[in-house]
């Protein structure tokens, strides 16, 4: 990006900008050249920013009324629901907001997988994104513990117990995490503290994520570099801002549908039973967005093995840019990889489904098949397909969807329809 130097018009603006170039930053963000062929899958970055801010704002208000104590937490949530002005609305936005956040982040991640946005030169954006995703899972898990219902308590027990699988020091680590000899008041207290901290860490990483994005610029549906900025790109404002606003509003309609009409459908009814260390629920299930990993965890008969595999399922994504051997970014031009991509989508959905089911019979079989495919996809399919695949012809530039090699009009049209 070779932008001409920005100079503020007013004297005061110039004085300030010479000392702290905030106005230059503002001008950069407004003018930021964005590929003009971005489709709606690219609007989830803006949507995710909205989700984060919503969670922080509602969360700060909730924290004004919530009491992080094992004897009072459940009652304080009911106090929020009944006595705080619009407390029910704030809490339902926050609890459903977590689900909407994950819905958006999964779409965002799979968009990146489909269009090869994790590939050179965008590896660092991808890795920061995964760090955000990891922190999101930690924040969501700890947030779910705070109402101190049955699923809060038993979910916390199951997840923290995972650390006891570590050889030799596992039990000591678990006790250290709990601050007690079981999930108890000290655990609730520290989870509340961390739950308040993590969103701000995420916010910091989001700034880095966007900064790293603004160095190479956006990937785009055809996955090729910008050739002629004047023809291939549009300024971020107003073109992308208005498009993001439209997509965000559609997203908000769905969000509002959950909040106002089925606010508890994504939660578990057991979490309206106060935590009771003496009564174990029939099925302990995490929130829906963690189910695929839960399925991977339970697919292994050995506890330590399950924990290692579950964490590997996330950490393997960190090396994805180097597992993918294809020179072509966008799956639009990768006929073989494109099919494997959809198999992966189905695989993850299936893992999520079996994660909600008891780990027995057919569900266990499906969980194992799903887990094996998940790893095969990244370790075998991605490197091998990248080498062997004959990719479709790629357009010369974003603005001219003319194909290199044998130009075939019908194919060009097909590609245009897709992107």
């Amino acid at each position: 990006m070779s932008e001409h130097e920005y100079t503020p018009k007013s004297k005061a603006g110039k004085w300030f900008n010479d000392r702290l170039p905030l106005l230059t930053l503002g001008a950069h963000l407004t003018d930021y050249p964005t590929p003009k062929n971005l489709n709606y899958w690219w609007t989830f970055g803006g949507i995710l920013t909205f989700c984060l801010i919503t969670q922080i704002v509602t969360g700060i208000v909730l924290a004004m009324h919530y009491v992080a104590h094992a004897d009072l937490a459940f009652a304080s949530v009911e106090h929020i629901m009944r006595d705080v002005n619009y407390g029910w609305l704030i809490r339902y936005i926050h609890s459903n907001g977590a689900s909407m956040f994950f819905l958006a982040v999964y779409i965002h991640i799979f968009r990146s997988l489909f269009y090869g946005s994790y590939k050179s030169p965008r590896e660092v954006i991808w890795i920061i994104g995964l760090m955000i995703y990891l922190l999101m899972m930690a924040a969501a898990f700890m947030g779910y513990v705070l109402p101190w219902g049955q699923m809060s308590f038993w979910g916390a027990t199951v997840i923290t117990n995972l650390f006891s699988a570590i050889p030799l020091v596992g039990d000591s680590i678990t006790t250290w995490l709990w601050g007690a000899y079981s999930v108890d008041n000290p655990t609730l207290n520290r989870f509340f503290s961390l739950h308040y901290l993590i969103p701000f860490l995420i916010l910091g990483l989001v700034v880095l994520h966007i900064w790293a994005l603004h160095v190479p610029g956006n990937n785009n549906p055809v996955g090729i570099d910008i050739k002629k900025p004047s023809k291939d790109t549009v300024p971020f404002h107003p073109y992308i801002t208005i498009k993001d606003a439209f997509a965000l509003l559609v997203f908000m309609i769905i969000f509002a549908g959950f909040v106002f009409f089925t606010p508890n459908v994504l939660g578990h009814s057991d979490n309206y039973i106060p935590a009771n260390p003496l009564v174990t629920p029939a099925h302990i299930v995490p929130e829906w967005y963690l189910l695929p990993f839960y399925a991977i965890l339970r697919s292994v008969p050995d506890k330590l093995g399950g924990v290692i595999l579950m964490f590997s399922a996330i950490f393997i994504l960190f090396v994805l840019p180097w597992l993918d051997t294809s020179k072509v970014r966008s799956a639009v031009f990768r006929p073989i990889y494109r099919q494997f991509f959809w198999i992966l989508v189905i695989d993850v959905l299936m893992l999520g489904y079996v994660g909600a089911m008891p780990a027995e019979g057919i569900y266990l079989v499906l969980a194992r098949v799903g887990t094996i495919y998940y790893f095969l996809h990244f370790i075998v399919v991605m490197p091998v397909v990248g080498y062997l695949e004959k990719t479709d012809p790629i357009p010369m530039s974003i603005s001219e969807p003319v194909l290199t090699g044998g130009a075939e009009p019908s194919l060009a049209r097909k590609i245009n329809d897709k992107v």
């Binding site: 339902y92 606003a245 309609i253 509002a256 106002f260 009409f261 039973i273 959809w342 189905i346 499906l366």
Partner: protein, 260 residues
């Protein structure tokens, strides 16, 4: 060809999730009741809420607490909407422990609208001891705390049956068609004509079960009516704004399309 492959995968996935989870054979789905508070614009039946409160007060309250509700809630909009005088009278009919006073003594006084619903037992242990080892759950959020919600609560109330042959029950355990595991420690407390409704409604078991379930549904979600009303307004507003932004977007992007 690729599209059809995707379609096949999606279809097979849908087939997979349509396979019903293997549940224990004796589980029966709760009865589906056409509640007035269902749906996008559902509201509570005011008369049913008032009758339901009567059933709660005369039947349930002797064992079940509702510790997150206050008497004032009974007069608030969206609830049973008893008049201010009625709420004061209801609250005053309970003796509430208060204190300590200036001498450091606890004392009792008639209830006020700001008091929480009186607990039938001093603590959970006392409740368990008085009920054959089973804790009668607090009913404040019971409808939200059970899979199946209001339908499930209603079904359990009307689901008492003689145990099928081969099922033996211990003393103080009853057979219920809809209860998870079919065994319940709460006896069938409802019988036709048990309470005398002041509005002349016939107090059949079915009527009382519906009324008290409606009352419990409100207790669990006192914001339901306001939530539905606000939700409709919010969605209409968002749809209108979305249309405006969509048209603006089309206008702005048309500058680009003309260049191509």
């Amino acid at each position: 060809m690729i599209k059809s492959n995707i379609k096949q995968l999606v279809l097979s996935f849908l087939l997979l999730i349509s396979l019903k989870p293997l549940q224990s054979a004796e589980m029966v789905d709760p009865i589906k009741v056409d509640w007035s508070f269902k749906g996008l614009t559902g509201t509570f039946d005011r008369a049913s809420l008032q009758r339901g409160f009567q059933v709660y007060k005369e039947v349930c309250a002797s064992c079940h607490s509702m510790q997150y509700l206050s008497y004032r809630n009974l007069g608030e909009t969206g609830g049973p909407e008893f008049s201010e005088i009625e709420v004061k009278a209801i609250a005053a009919s309970f003796e509430i422990e208060d204190g300590p006073d200036d001498q450091g003594e606890m004392f009792t006084r008639p209830g006020k609208p700001s008091d929480k619903f009186k607990n039938p037992y001093p603590n959970v242990k006392a409740a368990i001891a008085a009920n054959g080892g089973a804790y009668p759950p607090d009913m404040s959020v019971l409808v939200k705390a059970r899979k199946g919600g209001a339908n499930y609560i209603y079904s359990v109330l009307v689901g008492y049956e003689d145990p099928p042959p081969g099922v033996t029950l211990d003393d103080g355990v009853y057979y219920n068609k809809y209860m998870i595991g079919n065994k319940i420690k709460m006896p069938n407390n409802l019988s036709d004509g048990l309470v005398e409704y002041s509005d002349g409604t016939e107090s059949t078991v079915d009527q009382m079960a519906k009324d008290v379930t409606t009352f419990l549904a409100w207790a669990a979600e006192p914001e339901l009516e306001e939530r539905h009303r606000t939700g409709v307004k919010v969605i209409i507003y968002l749809i209108l704004l979305t249309i405006l932004v969509y048209l603006s977007m089309k206008k702005i992007w048309s500058r680009i399309d003309s260049e191509i």
